[in-house]
Each structure stands twice: as structure tokens, then as C-alpha cells.
């Protein structure tokens, strides 16, 4: 009985102390980042101070004046930093990354607290969000140079999940991602966008023509599939065929062209250089003559030869 009274008294005392401490405040550490860094002194943690998240002069930064420092992202760390009994599990804080037990939604919510504006709300509709990809699966915040924001290192980050794209990018003919001169976000809006597309611009052709503007036209003589979708003939992630073509000519062209005469002939292997060299097979095959396959602006160019 005496023991029960003592326990009740202690509980009451605890409630009074908690009340006087001011509710929420008691959940935070007593000294903010100094409390955290007294244990977390490893370089990977301290690297935070090289990046944009630790800029005292930026009022939006977690380390801006009056902000919650480490706890702005990791949540209140009071219980986590308090004493624990031997064998007792230390109360968790919000952790980031796929090796942390914090649910992805909760991780991302912390990031979106500040970055919802950057995401353009495309994020909420994006396949990454739908697939429960954590921001920290791609981004490193404890660094001065986030690999996914750097052209030369970004593709490797994306390939962590997009393994089949990684494979395709190793085909003989690709865009120069492997050399670190172009990145996935050169074409893709990786956070999604309001137009329900993972591309940087509103259509695939708009995106391709950012760099290949010479193909935009309109030409006097257009090639119908070109004006509609570059992907009808090209495999942008890589191909065994030059020009990122999805198939070797003349068969690619003959998938659509069946005019009487040479467009519909069966060009066989006796047309190779060792036998009877054929202009329909060798060199640039159909494009030896019909070289303006993306369109011609020549008044006599209706056959896309001028």
C-alpha cells in the first residue's frame, strides 16, 4: 500500500513538472544542436554544415535565427537525448533514408514542410511519391555537394532504382550520361510536374528539341511521325543502332513505307559489300538519298531528298 501511494505521488509530481515546463517545450533538447553534436560528432553528421541547410543568415534555414536546428528536420529530440536505463531502447527520432525505421511519408513530410514550394505540387501526383520513394533515397542533406544535384554523379543515384535504365544506358549508342556530361534531369522532371508527365517540357518533342532545335520545323515537307513523337523511331535511353534508332534501316523505314519499287523490295544479305554492294543496305541505307528524314524545307524536297 505504501509503495502504491509513493508511486501515485511521483506520477502526480511528474505531471506538475511537465505542466510547468510548458508542454511542447519539454520534448525538445535543452541546447538544440549542441545537445545533438555532443554525441553525433562524426564527419557524416558535421558535413551538414557545408550545405544549404546550415546557413545562419538564411531565416528559412533550420539554423536560421530562432529555428529548431537539427530538430527542425529530425523532430523533437528531448526524449532521444535524455537518459535511458541500461537495456532500454533509446527513443527514436525521425531518421532519413531507407535504412531508417521512420515511415517514408513521415520523412517526406518533414522535407516538404519547407520544400513544398520547390516541388510545384507535382510531387504529390508523381510516380516517385506514389511509389513511396523517400526524398533521402535520392538526396543527401548532410553534404556540401548533393550527388543527385551534380550532373556527373546524378545518374548513378537514379540507377539505384532504375536498374533497367542503367543497363540500357550501357548500350553502344546512348546520350552521354555515362561520361557525366548529361544527367537524367536534362530531360526528366524528377519531382513530377503539374502536367502529369515526367518530362522537363510539356511533350516529348518539346523536350528533345531543347537541344535538337534544328529538327523543330515546321518544314515545308514534314515527316508525319517526326512531328508527333521522336520516340516512334528513336530509343532515347540507348540502342544497339547508330542514331539511337530503334531498328536498323532499311527495315525500320519499311515498317511504314510500302510504295511500289524499291521501298517495298526485300533487301537480302547478298547486297552486302562482299557480294553486290547495295545502296539500300549499306552506308546510311535509305538515308543515302532520303537524307532529310526529319523534314525538308526545299520546294523540290517532297521526297525528303533535298
Amino acid at each position: 500500500m505504501r509503495l502504491a501511494v509513493s508511486a501515485a505521488s511521483l506520477a502526480l509530481l511528474a505531471l506538475v513538472v511537465a505542466g510547468s515546463a510548458g508542454g511542447q517545450e519539454s520534448e525538445y533538447t535543452r541546447k538544440g544542436a549542441d545537445t545533438c553534436l555532443s554525441c553525433h560528432e562524426e564527419q557524416t553528421t558535421l558535413a551538414l554544415f557545408r550545405g544549404k541547410h546550415a546557413v545562419p543568415s538564411d531565416p528559412r534555414s533550420p539554423f536560421g535565427h530562432g529555428q529548431l536546428q537539427c530538430e527542425a528536420c529530425h523532430g523533437p529530440g528531448g526524449p532521444h537525448s535524455g537518459r535511458v536505463r541500461r537495456g532500454q531502447e533509446r527513443p527514436p527520432i525521425i531518421g532519413f533514408g531507407n535504412d531508417k525505421p521512420t515511415p517514408v511519408a513521415q520523412q517526406n513530410a518533414m522535407c516538404l514542410t519547407c520544400h513544398d514550394g520547390d516541388m510545384g505540387f507535382g510531387w504529390q501526383n508523381d510516380a516517385h511519391a506514389g511509389g513511396e520513394v523517400a526524398c533521402a533515397d535520392c538526396h543527401v542533406s548532410h553534404t556540401g555537394s548533393d550527388p543527385v544535384l551534380k550532373t556527373s554523379t546524378q545518374p548513378e543515384q537514379c540507377y539505384e532504382c532504375h536498374v533497367q535504365t542503367k543497363t540500357r544506358m550501357r548500350k553502344a549508342f546512348t546520350h552521354p550520361l555515362t561520361d557525366g556530361k548529361m544527367d537524367c534531369s536534362s530531360c526528366h522532371a524528377v519531382h513530377g510536374d503539374a502536367v502529369d508527365s515526367d518530362l522537363l517540357h510539356v511533350t516529348i518533342n518539346d523536350t528533345c528539341q531543347t537541344c535538337h532545335a534544328e529538327l523543330r520545323g515546321p518544314f515545308l515537307w514534314e515527316h508525319a511521325p517526326v512531328s508527333e513523337d521522336c520516340g516512334l523511331c528513336h530509343a532515347p535511353h540507348g540502342s544497339n543502332h547508330p542514331g539511337l534508332l530503334s531498328k536498323r534501316g532499311p527495315l525500320l523505314c519499311q515498317s511504314c513505307h510500302s510504295q511500289s519499287g524499291h521501298p517495298s523490295f526485300a533487301f537480302e544479305s547478298d547486297g552486302l559489300a562482299s557480294e553486290m554492294p547495295s545502296q539500300y543496305l549499306l552506308g546510311q541505307n535509305c538515308m543515302n538519298c532520303h537524307s532529310q528524314v526529319h523534314g525538308s524545307n526545299h520546294p523540290s524536297g517532297s521526297g525528303l531528298m533535298r
Binding site: 557545408r50 544549404k52 550532373t151 556530361k181 503539374a194 510504295q259 559489300a273 554492294p277
Partner: protein
């Protein structure tokens, strides 16, 4: 490890607002003792610079493409990055490959939270072939001429000797330079951004020029400039009702090409035009694309819903002056209907998306988008001159292609269990086209997916579905006006049934420090109503990825990918029913492996990466006239080994050694043995299949300046 229940991502938005409230409560947290005395804030400047040299053993267009190491020799290496941080201003800079043709430099800075800016410059070399040669000289940027005294002959066989004597190396390559400048200004909920980018692309590419039954592959010089401007205004708001944004944007892309024509002298005897007039090919005309866009989004936490809408209105203009029908004064060509295209395309794009979590364990998504390309270019009759010699006599109308495309998507997720999620979706695509064989096309797609995540370290997804693409009718009468066999069904217009499936599994058991993932995908297209053209296509891909954190300082990985793309198409040499069939099979295998060991004896980092990839394309053609004909396999083989060794002699100084071995080999019947005079009626550039083996050895020093080395 404590396991949390799987929570749909939509909670992110809601929790985000809750978290925002928590941040606001910072005012109620006593932070007076949060002085951050242990915080190593950046102050002053720091930098990390690399100076070295690399020796390249051999010429290689393949290796040199994008990297800049295209020729045998010694290259200087200069890289670096650094930052300077003041009380209110920050600057960061990056320098990469400064001494190579692939150089990059960027500077970004600003006052965090107030404004930022960025300047960048990149050069990107494109190296296609270094085995090509040509008889053509280039006396001017838009002109290719033949050597003096050239004696035109009817075939390359007859001109072989003079071709051999006149050939000069002419690499097919170009260099793109990209200059970028932009900035953002932030004030309250407003953000204003402005970016300008200039791309200059100059070089030589191969372009076929033809007259009568002969052609020559021309080393076409080109010099393109594209200016882009992108301006945006955005306002983000947040209230008790939710949060949202509104944005306005304007984008301009202006392409210019100083050369409207490529004038070239025909080397064959059938030519009717000789220099100085020569034949003329039209080059890419100047064009301009401008687009205005508006977008808005809102999160409504009370009903767990996110809504976003957008609209974009663009215009493409092209009004470059036409070349004449012919440069041959002997032909009595008609006057052109107009002197330039006065081409105009209006583009319209709308999109709408709603994501909602109306009840627990459920997520619904609806989206719709509409794209329109309205080519308003006027139509005229053009009485072309064939090979600068003959009036066609059958005037042709130009065809300004337009289309409207819409896509409606509905999908939903339901958590059957904490560890099991079922998803399903439906999609409808409609395409309406002008001036094509199919006016209206509809595709319905349905799919379902099951995700099982019994514990955090394991996830298994399986997805499958099918689609049917239907058309109103395939207008054979219209196809015939273009000379097509009425049985032909173009694959992007044709009726099609598709089945697809995918499977992924990933496992990262924490006790073993091993992670592995497997992915497989399959798609099968059946063009059941196509009598000619593509009738069947099948694609499958498999990949396996293993990673192992051997110790805290060492990791290793291996990944394997296999892909197959098969198709079958029918043709008719007799311009009637199918009388030949072609089967294509592209196979591709890649293996990547490597390891990394850090801080060997506290001073040495070693990284080794090796990639082997090989592609093989098989073509089998079987015709009624010629029987079965199998082409030699088209093969590409790439071996790429990279070794990097870094030795830290002090906190600031590091010695770096790199070794790269690359072998790239192709078997390509389109190029093998095709010397410039090999094809009797085509004078080619003689590009050879790749057979490059290159070793790069590099040595240099990395020095960290300022207040500490990079982490």
C-alpha cells in the same frame, strides 16, 4: 528494429502541414541556450583543386565522344570546386575538365533566402567517326566542291582511282557549347526566376545528297545557334485551409542557322549541273518557339486531397526564305507559290490532376491531359523539279500535320494489409490526326499491381495489364494517294493489342549488409489486323543488382542486365499480298562489377569499376523470290575498366592515379568493307566499324585550400 506501419504517401502532405505548424511553434520553444557553439558553420573560403595529366594511348572517336579524349597524346587535367561564405553571401564554383573539349565551369551564389544566381559554361564534344574521308573540299561554309579536273563517271567503280587520289580525312564530329545564366529572387511567397541559355553547335555531319540514281554522302558543315529564355513568377501561399501555389511562365527557344543551303558538286557522270552552281540541299531553317504557361496547385488537408492544373499555349514559327525549285537555269521552273513557308503551329496543352485519400488505406488518383499541335501553315501546290532537270508536272500539296491527343488516367491503391497493397488503374488515350491514314485512334489500358512489403528490408512488386488500341478505320484510299500498298498498316497508327507485365523484388537484410534487387519486364504487341508492316513485337528485360558493404570501409557490387527486343514485319515486293517476312532480334547483355575500399592504412582509397556490355542484332529475311537470307550479326562489344587510387599524404594533399582501359568493337555489315567507292552508285565517306582499344593513364595532385578539405 521497431517497424512502423506502411503509410501512404499522401499523408506526407497532411503531415507536412502539421510539421509546418510545429516549426511555427519554434517561437514557443525556449531557444535562448541554443547557441550552437559546436556547430562548424562554413566561413571564409575553401577549395579543392586537382592538377594532373593524362596520357591517351590511341585515337578513339568512341572514347572521345563526350569525354574529349579523342586523340592519342597527353592531356592536362584541371578540376576543382570550392566555396566562399560570408556573413550573408555564399559563392560556390565547380570546374571540370578545364583543359579538355568537354570542359565545364559553373559559379553559383546569392544570399540564401533572398536571391541566388548561376553562371555556367559547358562544352560537349560529339565524335561520331574518325575513320571517314571525303573527296569534297569546303571552300565556303555552305559549299562542297570537287577537286580541280574531276572527271565525273557513272559509277564509283569507274572513278575509283581518282577517288583514291582525292580522298582527305574528314572526321564526322561537332562541338556544342552551352552558356547558361540565371537567377531567382525570393520575397515572401513570391519567387521570380529568369534563365537564359545559348547553345552553339558547330561541326560536320554526314548528309546524303542525290541526283538521278546516284548519291554522295556529304560531309555537311553546320553551325547552329539556339537561344533560350525561361522566365517564371510563382506565388506560394499557406493558410489554415491548406497550401498552394500559382505560377506563370514564359519560354522562348530561338534557333538560327546561317546556312540555308548546302551547295555541292555532283561527282557522278549523270550530273547535269557542275560547279560553281552545283546541287543544293536545304539546311535546317531558322525557327522560333514561344510558350506561355500557367499552373496552380492546392493541398486541401481537411479532405486529404491535392489538386493541380496547368495550361500552356505555344507558337512555333518558321519563315526562312526558300531556295528555288532548282539552281538549273535551263529548267523553266514555275515561280514559287510563296517565297517562304510562313509556317505557324499553335500548341495547346492542358493538364489536371487530383490525388486524394478519401478513406483510410485508400489513395485515388485522377489525371487528364490534352496536347494539341495545330499546324496552321498554308497549303499550296508545288511543282517540283526532279533532280534539277525535269519538271514534275504533277504539283504536290504540302501537308501540315496536326493532331490532338488526350489521356485520361484513373488509378487507386488499397492497403489490403499493413504489408500488402493492391493497385489498379485504367487509362484511355485518344489521338485525332489530320492528313493521315487514321483519323481517330483510341487506346484503352487496364493494369493491376500488388506490392508486398512484409518487412522494411524486403519489397516485392508484381504488375500486369493489357491494352487495346483501336481505330475508326484505316483509310486505304488515302494511303494509295501517297503510293502506299493499301495493305500497309503503319505501326503507330495500326490496331494493336498489348500485354505487359513487370516484377521487381528488393531485399536489404540489415544483418548481412547485403542488398539485392531483381527486376523483370515483358511487353508483347500484336498487330493482328496488319497485313503488311509490323505485325508482332516483343520486349523483355531482366536485371539483377547486388551490393555488399563488406566492412565499414569497403563495398562491392555486381549487376547484370539482359534485354531482348524482337519484331516481325511483312513486306510485299510485288506490291500486292505479303511475299517477304523479316525477323529482327536485338539482344543485349551487360555486366557491371566493382569494389571500393576507403582509408587503407588511413591514407589510401581504391576504387575499381568494370563494365562489359555486348549487343547483338540478328536479322533474318525470308522472301518468296530469294528464300531465306540471314544477315551477319550486328555486334557491339564494350569493355571498360576504371581504376582510381588516391593517396593522402596530408590533410590537404592527395596524390591521384587513374587507369582506364576501354575496348569498343563493332561488327557492322552496313560499314564493313564499305570503302568510299565500294557502292557503285553511292560515293560514301568510308566510315569503318569501330575497333578501338585505348588506355588512359593519369596522375595528378589534389590540394585542399581554405578551412578544411571536403568531406
Amino acid at each position: 528494429m521497431k517497424r512502423y506501419p506502411v503509410t501512404p504517401i499522401f499523408i506526407a502532405a497532411i503531415t507536412g502541414l502539421a510539421a509546418a505548424a510545429t516549426a511555427a511553434e519554434a517561437q514557443n520553444v525556449d531557444t535562448s541556450e541554443w547557441i550552437c557553439e559546436f556547430c562548424p558553420f562554413e566561413d571564409g573560403s575553401r577549395g579543392d583543386y586537382f592538377l594532373g595529366a593524362s596520357s591517351v594511348s590511341d585515337d578513339s572517336a568512341y572514347l572521345g565522344n563526350a569525354s574529349g579524349y579523342d586523340e592519342e597524346g597527353v592531356y592536362a587535367n584541371l578540376d576543382g570546386e570550392g566555396s566562399a561564405t560570408g556573413e550573408k553571401h555564399r559563392l560556390r564554383w565547380v570546374l571540370e575538365d578545364l583543359a579538355l573539349d568537354s570542359r565545364f565551369a559553373a559559379l553559383e551564389g546569392g544570399r540564401p533566402g533572398s536571391f541566388d544566381y548561376r553562371l555556367a559554361y559547358r562544352e560537349l564534344p560529339y565524335r561520331r567517326f574518325d575513320t571517314t574521308s571525303s573527296v569534297f573540299a569546303q571552300p565556303a561554309g555552305d559549299r562542297l566542291s570537287l577537286p580541280g579536273g574531276w572527271d565525273p563517271q557513272p559509277t564509283t567503280t569507274a572513278m575509283a582511282d581518282q577517288v583514291g587520289a582525292a580522298l582527305r580525312p574528314r572526321n564526322l564530329e561537332s562541338d556544342r557549347s552551352i552558356f547558361d545564366i540565371g537567377g531567382r529572387y525570393l520575397a515572401g511567397g513570391f519567387r521570380v526566376s529568369a534563365d537564359y541559355r545559348r547553345q552553339e553547335n558547330e561541326g560536320v555531319r554526314s548528309l546524303g545528297g542525290s541526283a538521278f540514281t546516284n548519291a554522295a554522302l556529304l560531309p555537311m558543315p553546320f553551325d547552329y545557334v539556339t537561344d533560350e529564355v525561361d522566365i517564371g513568377l510563382r506565388y506560394a501561399m499557406r493558410s489554415g485551409m491548406g497550401s498552394g501555389f500559382v505560377s506563370l511562365g514564359w519560354y522562348l527557344s530561338d534557333f538560327r542557322n546561317d546556312n540555308t543551303a548546302l551547295n555541292w558538286a555532283h561527282p557522278f557522270g549523270a550530273a547535269v549541273l557542275t560547279e560553281p552552281a552545283g546541287y543544293a540541299l536545304a539546311q535546317a531553317p531558322d525557327n522560333r518557339y514561344s510558350r506561355v504557361s500557367v499552373a496552380a496547385g492546392y493541398v486541401l488537408p481537411d479532405i486529404a486531397t491535392t489538386v493541380s492544373v496547368s495550361a500552356a499555349f505555344g507558337q512555333i514559327e518558321q519563315d526562312a526564305e526558300f531556295l528555288g525549285y532548282t539552281v538549273n537555269p535551263e529548267v523553266d521552273a514555275e515561280p514559287l507559290p510563296r517565297n517562304s513557308l510562313d509556317g505557324e503551329i499553335d500548341t495547346t496543352n492542358y493538364a489536371f490532376a487530383v490525388t486524394s485519400r478519401p478513406i483510410d488505406k485508400t489513395r485515388l488518383r485522377l489525371s487528364y491531359r490534352y496536347d494539341e499541335r495545330d499546324n496552321k501553315t498554308a497549303r499550296d501546290l508545288w511543282n517540283r523539279v526532279i533532280v534539277d532537270s525535269l519538271l514534275s508536272g504533277s504539283p504536290e500539296q504540302n501537308v501540315p500535320y496536326s493532331f490532338e491527343r488526350s489521356r485520361l488516367k484513373l488509378s487507386g491503391d488499397y492497403d489490403l494489409l499493413d504489408t500488402l497493397r493492391l493497385s489498379a488503374g485504367y487509362e484511355r488515350r485518344d489521338v485525332d490526326r489530320d492528313f493521315q491514314e487514321v483519323a481517330e485512334q483510341t487506346e484503352d489500358t487496364a493494369w493491376a499491381k500488388l506490392r508486398w512489403r512484409p518487412f522494411q528490408a524486403f519489397e516485392f512488386d508484381i504488375r500486369g495489364g493489357g491494352s487495346k488500341r483501336d481505330i475508326d478505320s484505316y483509310n486505304e484510299t488515302f494511303a494509295v494517294t501517297f503510293g502506299q500498298n493499301p495493305l500497309m498498316r503503319k505501326y503507330h497508327l495500326a490496331y494493336r493489342e498489348r500485354r505487359f507485365g513487370a516484377l521487381t523484388a528488393s531485399w536489404s537484410p540489415p544483418e548481412t549488409s547485403v542488398s539485392m534487387s531483381f527486376a523483370a519486364s515483358y511487353a508483347d504487341d500484336d498487330y493482328a489486323q496488319s497485313a503488311l508492316g509490323l505485325v508482332e513485337a516483343e520486349e523483355s528485360a531482366y536485371s539483377l543488382d547486388l551490393g555488399w558493404s563488406i566492412t565499414e570501409k569497403s563495398t562491392a557490387y555486381v549487376n547484370v542486365g539482359v534485354e531482348s527486343i524482337e519484331s516481325e514485319q511483312l513486306g510485299s515486293a510485288s506490291f500486292a499480298a505479303p511475299d517477304w517476312v523479316a525477323e529482327n532480334e536485338d539482344g543485349f547483355t551487360t555486366i557491371g562489377t566493382g569494389f571500393r575500399i576507403r582509408q587503407i592504412a588511413d591514407r589510401v582509397d581504391l576504387r575499381v569499376d568494370y563494365t562489359h556490355s555486348e549487343g547483338k542484332s540478328e536479322i533474318l529475311l525470308d522472301s518468296a523470290a530469294g528464300g531465306a537470307s540471314r544477315f551477319p550479326d550486328l555486334e557491339t562489344t564494350l569493355d571498360d575498366l576504371n581504376v582510381r587510387l588516391a593517396y593522402r599524404s596530408s590533410e590537404r594533399l592527395e596524390l591521384d592515379l587513374k587507369l582506364r582501359y576501354q575496348r569498343f568493337e563493332t561488327e557492322d555489315w552496313a560499314l564493313a568493307g564499305v570503302t568510299p567507292a565500294a557502292i557503285p552508285v553511292v560515293l560514301s565517306l568510308g566510315a569503318e566499324p569501330y575497333d578501338d582499344e585505348t588506355i588512359i593513364v593519369g596522375l595528378g595532385f589534389r590540394y585542399a585550400m581554405g578551412n578544411g578539405a571536403e568531406e
